[in-house]
């Protein structure tokens, strides 16, 4: 594995290997001394053409915990605003000696272009591209789900939290992904990865927010959240952020901004928001995930976001371990020569 571009790049064994490596990394993060010398002297560039808080900080933390040098590059305030192309930006970074490029870009496929165009010889890690893929988010979601639910709801409670589910997949688990699937790279990556790991995924969204072709994905699609909760009793429910900034219509920041896909925020919340009532419909062992940032009161109520079932902050913690694992697996080996 030289690049991580899509959750579809990973087969079952490779995905489990990444998750197991993440578990080892997580075990080191409980120590007083959290830094490992593993990637000393390597340089990781965070190339962010789109705003991000947690993904960029998470990658930066992961690289620093492995002793790599980190260069942060944000498109705002750089030569990109003077019109520099992706190719020139990437080659400039290559000339500075980067070993890996972590890229987030608003255009779907930009990381693939960077990895396969021959512009640079570094490893490329996709940190979210347009409405396409966000593989490390899917990995950290799978890791969080496995930690809580693998081996059935009656997992071994004496095991260290980091070591639960080691070597296991997610076979037999039912997972509902609810909300703005249309604009969500998180949903696309998760459908692929969770299916690879044997879970049964159901997408729940209003018809306007289900992408064309979703029927061909390895998952079910439903338009009714209450029915899914009552009939399927999902083991985990993942709420997606309503991505108003990608919804265009009704420009502005007022309450009606970007609601061309549903009549009003209130109606969306009634039909697809996770509140205390829907939380009670879930089985006792079920967990609530959200990739963040949350729109409290829109797709998730404060009751649900702050409940004991919510593992949203654990997802952030696990994100560092998963990204450490990805950086380790891509960089801690013989350097492939670049022709």
């Amino acid at each position: 594995m030289k690049h991580l571009l899509s959750a579809g790049d990973l087969d079952r064994d490779a995905a489990i290997h990444v998750l197991d490596t993440a578990a080892r990394m997580a075990a080191t993060q409980g120590r007083e001394m959290k830094k490992l010398p593993t990637l000393r002297g390597r340089t990781v560039v965070n190339l962010f053409f789109e705003d991000s808080t947690r993904t960029r900080i998470s990658f930066e933390t992961a690289a620093k915990r492995l002793s790599a040098d980190v260069i942060n590059f944000a498109a705002k305030g750089s030569s990109v605003s003077k019109g520099e192309s992706l190719k020139d930006t990437a080659q400039t970074l290559q000339a500075m000696g980067a070993d890996a490029v972590v890229i987030r870009h608003p255009a779907s496929g930009a990381p693939h272009r960077l990895a396969h165009s021959g512009w640079v010889g570094t490893s490329v890690i996709n940190a979210g591209d347009g409405t396409h893929q966000h593989p490390t988010q899917a990995l950290l979601d799978a890791y969080t789900i496995r930690q809580h639910l693998a081996g059935g709801p009656t997992h071994d409670p004496t095991a260290e939290p980091d070591q639960r589910g080691l070597g296991q997949d997610l076979a037999g688990l039912r997972i509902a992904i609810v909300g703005d699937v249309l604009h969500s790279r998180v949903a696309r990556s998760n459908v692929q990865l969770l299916h690879t790991l044997g879970a049964q995924v159901t997408l729940v969204a209003p018809p306007t927010l289900v992408p064309v072709g979703a029927q061909a994905w390895p998952c079910d699609v439903s338009y009714h959240l209450d029915e899914v909760l009552a009939d399927q009793q999902p083991d985990a429910i993942m709420m997606l952020r309503v991505q108003r900034e990608r919804m265009g219509a009704g420009a502005g920041s007022g309450p009606s901004h970007g609601t061309g896909f549903f009549p009003s925020p209130l109606e969306y919340t009634r039909a697809f928001g996770l509140d205390a009532r829907r939380l009670r419909m879930l089985p006792d062992h079920a967990i609530v995930l959200h990739p963040g940032p949350m729109n409290r009161g829109l797709e998730i109520s404060a009751d649900a976001a702050d409940s004991a079932r919510a593992v949203i902050l654990e997802q952030v913690t696990n994100g560092v371990a998963v990204r450490m694992a990805v950086l380790y697996l891509l960089l801690a080996k013989e350097k492939e020569t670049w022709a």
Binding site: R24, A27, P37, E334
Partner: protein, 201 residues
């Protein structure tokens, strides 16, 4: 390292020559356990950290032997594992290595006497990595090293405190340790043995 020409295959059909058999391994571990107790004046304050993969079962066997002599010692609280993968200096020369588990007994390693346990002592680089890894876990009072086989060819100023067998080897030979805990499929003639093959003796 090239494996060199193979030794003549013995009548048993198993390649290589047996250096230590199951009984000899047991005897060597019994002696090492007593040496550890003698040198440290008992088992209090001792932590045995096995280096995965095969150092870990050896550490467990040593702890069981120590518990036979010192009845008030709980063998499971004596043993931990110390994975050194992320501290190796040769990561960029090999394909990606799988990371093993690091588990330290509940009391930690601060102010303890840590005995590192490994199967074969060769270049000393694994032990160098282990010392670095240990440094990140705490500050032991002292660190000692126990190995089943010392095959020489050190590349660093490191020596073992407890040695099961000193085994002079050439660089082209391979020393294979097979233990019932880690290699259950090795076959009845190979399990719990140390064998040497390849090269010219």
């Amino acid at each position: 390292m090239s494996s060199g020409p193979a030794l003549p295959v013995p009548a048993s059909g198993v390649p290589g020559a047996e250096v230590l058999g199951p009984a000899e391994i047991t005897r060597a571990l019994t002696r090492i356990a007593h040496e550890i107790l003698e040198r440290n004046k008992g088992a209090s304050g001792i932590v045995l950290l096995g280096i995965p993969t095969r150092g870990l079962p050896l550490a467990h066997r040593l702890a069981a032997k120590i518990a036979e002599v010192e009845p008030d010692v709980d063998p499971s609280s004596l043993v931990g594992s110390l994975d050194v993968t992320m501290y190796r200096d040769d990561l960029h020369r090999h394909p990606t290595r799988t990371i093993g588990a690091t588990e330290v007994p509940a009391d930690g390693v601060d102010d303890k006497v840590v005995v590192l346990v490994d199967d074969v002592l060769f270049s000393g680089r694994t032990i160098r990595a282990a010392l670095d890894a240990l440094n990140d876990l705490g500050r032991p009072r002292a660190v000692q090293l126990a190995v089943l086989v010392d095959r020489g060819h050190r590349e660093l100023p490191i020596r073992a405190d407890y040695v099961g067998k000193n085994l002079p080897t050439s660089l082209s030979e391979k020393v294979r340790v097979r233990l019932s805990e880690t290699d259950p499929d090795a076959g009845p003639q190979v399990v719990d043995t140390v064998r040497i093959d390849g090269g010219e003796r």
